[in-house]
């Protein structure tokens, strides 16, 4: 049964390549107008899922249903309704940029003039309009990435899959693309993104699916996942000499202790546990020079959950 907000429903999909199970009995859904992040280490099955969603490969088992157009019975999307930025980037190098983009718009269902106009608007927005008649090979890697991004969204899709959209960009352009993706969402495009830049994903993703070895590890909004995470807060203390970590590790309030360097220690607190008791204990044993408290990040959760899953798999 589909929730009224759902734009995509994936039910029990499985994909096997020889002896390797790339995706194992996975179910999830994406809601209309949200930014949904697909996270996982290399080889987790993200690209396989994306390719199945884009109908490039078929699942061995399970169902993928799109509800892009409320008035349409078909669960198979039109090419014009989908946008796709693949992880494996590639466009025609020796053809003028505007021609390639127009062709990409046309094969996504736009009429030629409309595609050309949209391509020009996007090129203007990304400061590449002046170079529209140049060959792609003359652009820098970052600018080629921009053109590739334009090719995936110029037809104004209802649903866009962006695989590693921040890869190859400097921090300034990463910030710019964060805003562009938000703008796309605000204009009504539902976005599925797969990225390794957790700090950026955390800032824009409405919901997250964390994968490892083709299986679901965590799923929900960022807040829900953080809430489910065993640790509450994270503190970083600086001390004058190398601390005895076992002393901190055995404290009731502590979930995990990590040594960052010789004088810096990262402590993850258990949920609802007070910081004051731990600090008193630390102060009586070490000379503390500074204390910082941080919220648990998606990155921390990612590392924790993947490590835990690996541990369970090995056991």
């Amino acid at each position: 049964m589909k929730n009224s907000d759902e734009i995509l429903k994936v039910d029990s999909i499985r994909k096997q390549f020889g002896k390797i199970t790339a995706v194992n009995n996975l179910s999830f859904s994406i809601n209309r107008g949200e930014i949904f992040a697909l996270l996982g280490p290399n080889g987790a099955g993200k690209t396989t899922i994306v390719r199945m969603l884009m109908d490039i490969i078929k699942p061995d088992e399970g169902i993928i249903e799109f509800y892009l157009n409320e008035n349409k019975n078909s669960r198979i999307p039109l090419a014009s309704e989908l946008g796709y930025l693949p992880e494996e980037r590639g466009l025609y190098q020796e053809i003028p940029i505007i021609k390639t983009l127009t062709f990409m718009g046309v094969i996504r269902g736009m009429i030629k003039k409309q595609a050309e106009k949209s391509a020009e608007e996007w090129l203007e927005k990304l400061e590449l309009y002046e170079r529209k008649n140049e060959k792609l090979s003359t652009l820098s890697k970052g600018n080629q990435q921009k053109v590739q991004f334009i090719s995936s969204v110029l037809h104004n899709p209802s649903f866009a899959v962006l695989d590693e959209p921040f890869a190859g960009f400097d921090p300034i352009n990463q910030e710019a693309f964060l805003m562009i993706i938000k703008e796309l969402r605000d204009k009504g495009t539902t976005i599925l993104l797969s990225a390794h830049q957790m700090h950026l994903v955390e800032r824009i993703a409405d919901r997250v699916l964390l994968l490892n070895n083709g299986k679901k590890i965590a799923y929900g909004t960022v807040d829900e996942i953080k809430k489910d995470f065993s640790s509450g807060e994270k503190i970083i203390i600086n001390v004058e000499s190398i601390p005895d970590l076992s002393l901190l590790q055995n404290d009731d309030a502590v979930e995990k202790v990590e040594s960052i360097n010789d004088t810096e220690v990262k402590i993850f607190l258990k949920q609802n546990k007070s910081l004051s008791g731990l600090l008193n204990k630390a102060a009586s044993n070490y000379t503390i020079t500074s204390v910082e408290t941080e919220h648990i990040s998606l990155h921390d959760i990612f590392i924790e959950r993947i490590s835990k899953d690996k541990g369970e798999s090995n056991a």
């Binding site: 490039i56 078909s74 999307p77 796709y84 466009l91 990409m104 269902g109 090719s151």
Partner: protein, 404 residues
């Protein structure tokens, strides 16, 4: 993902346009024609110019000219200077200084001496004139008239009675036309081969395939590619034909004896040849696209050489020039892989029944249809395989499974 039937046709046409425009450069074609004209001018104009400036007569001193009455044509560059006495040291000095071209001494009709510095270009012409003069003398001595001699060496005459209407032996013009036609087909195969190869392996190497495969079906894509590159091959062939025409026109301006063989004038024949050429290009381009899709790295793959396979049936068609009605050529006219070039050659050279043409075309079109389907399956599965080439076993498994 789907696009609907009408959209599939529209998208196929968009891919055809894209593939054609991607490779076709009007400027390049115009430059090709201009270069062709320039080369023709250089070759034939240059030849005419050289001939104009090298029309100095060669003086040949002839001793005892009465022995053989030599007759040279008006255009001959040999100028005979008759002397009735033996060569002298003075004449030899003139020869050494290249003031005369040679000294010809006619001792008698079977004893002729020629003294030159080195073998002259006009030796053949002189030999011909001497032989002719000698034959005349010998005829006179034998008391045989020219007519009697002609009669002696005349061929045996056979009066032919045919039970079936027999076509006349192919003329040289027809053979030249058929040869040129097969040559053009061969050129078309090379055009298709090179462009299909570069287009598909290039897209694979540039990782464009995934973007396109997410927007259009592999079937639409391969159909567009086959049609687009077949169209490109034909247009490039037209440019080649035009270049040849320019070459012939320029040569005829300078009267080099070339002419356009105009034995193919029947409109029905032209239509049949056109259909056969298009079908051939479609068949070969389908083959090329399927093979190219399985190639991972065009520089190292052993499969690259397979792209040359369609050259074989076209080359075989040249044998039709010798005996277009042989059993082998008749069989090859029906065999889809060879029918396009072989039947085309036979159509120009001999009479082929309508039923034969129809059957051959049906077989060819059915083969294109099935090969295109198989190519579509291979293409759709191979195009996204990076770093590894599918084995023949895998390819045959894909085709078998697609039938289920």
């Amino acid at each position: 993902m789907h696009n609907g039937r009408n959209s599939q046709i529209k998208l196929t046409l968009e891919v055809v346009k894209w593939e054609f425009n991607r490779w076709f450069k009007l400027k390049d074609q115009i430059i090709t024609l201009l270069i062709s004209a320039l080369i023709s001018l250089l070759i034939f104009g240059g030849k005419a110019l050289i001939e104009k400036f090298s029309d100095d007569k060669v003086e040949l001193v002839i001793i005892n000219s009465g022995v053989l009455p030599i007759k040279l044509s008006n255009e001959s560059k040999i100028e005979l200077i008759k002397k009735e006495f033996a060569e002298t040291d003075e004449q030899k000095k003139l020869l050494a200084k290249k003031e005369i071209g040679g000294i010809l001494i006619l001792n008698d009709i079977d004893n002729i001496e020629l003294t030159v510095n080195k073998e002259p270009a006009w030796l053949g012409e002189l030999q011909k004139a001497l032989t002719s003069a000698r034959q005349q003398i010998k005829l006179k001595q034998s008391n045989i008239s020219q007519e009697q001699l002609k009669n002696i060496f005349q061929q045996a005459q056979i009066k032919m009675n045919y039970t079936e209407t027999k076509r006349e032996e192919s003329s040289t013009g027809e053979k030249v036309s058929a040869g040129i036609f097969i040559g053009l087909m061969l050129l078309g195969v090379f055009f298709g081969l090179s462009y299909q190869f570069v287009a598909i392996t290039g897209e694979k190497q540039l990782r464009i395939t995934e973007v396109i495969a997410s927007a259009i079906s592999p079937k639409t894509w391969i159909n567009g590619k086959i049609l687009g590159i077949s169209l490109l091959s034909i247009v490039l062939l037209v440019t080649s034909v035009l270049s040849t025409v320019v070459f012939i026109i320029v040569s005829s301006i300078f009267r080099s004896g070339w002419s356009i063989p105009l034995s193919i004038t029947n409109p029905l024949l032209i239509v049949a040849l056109f259909i056969l050429s298009i079908s051939g290009f479609l068949l070969w381009n389908t083959f090329f696209s399927a093979i190219a899709a399985t190639i991972n790295d065009p520089n190292t793959s052993a499969r690259s050489s397979l792209m040359m396979v369609p050259v074989i049936p076209v080359a075989i068609a040249f044998y039709a020039l010798g005996d277009p009605d042989s059993l082998v050529m008749k069989i090859l006219s029906f065999f889809p892989l060879t029918s396009s070039p072989v039947l085309s050659a036979r159509l120009v050279l001999t009479d082929v029944s309508f039923i034969e043409i129809l059957l051959s075309l049906i077989l060819l079109i059915v083969t294109i249809w099935y090969l295109r389907k198989a190519a579509g399956i291979i293409f759709s599965l191979s195009i996204l395989m990076y770093g590894k080439e599918p084995s023949w076993k895998e390819i045959s498994k894909w085709i078998r499974e697609s039938r289920k």
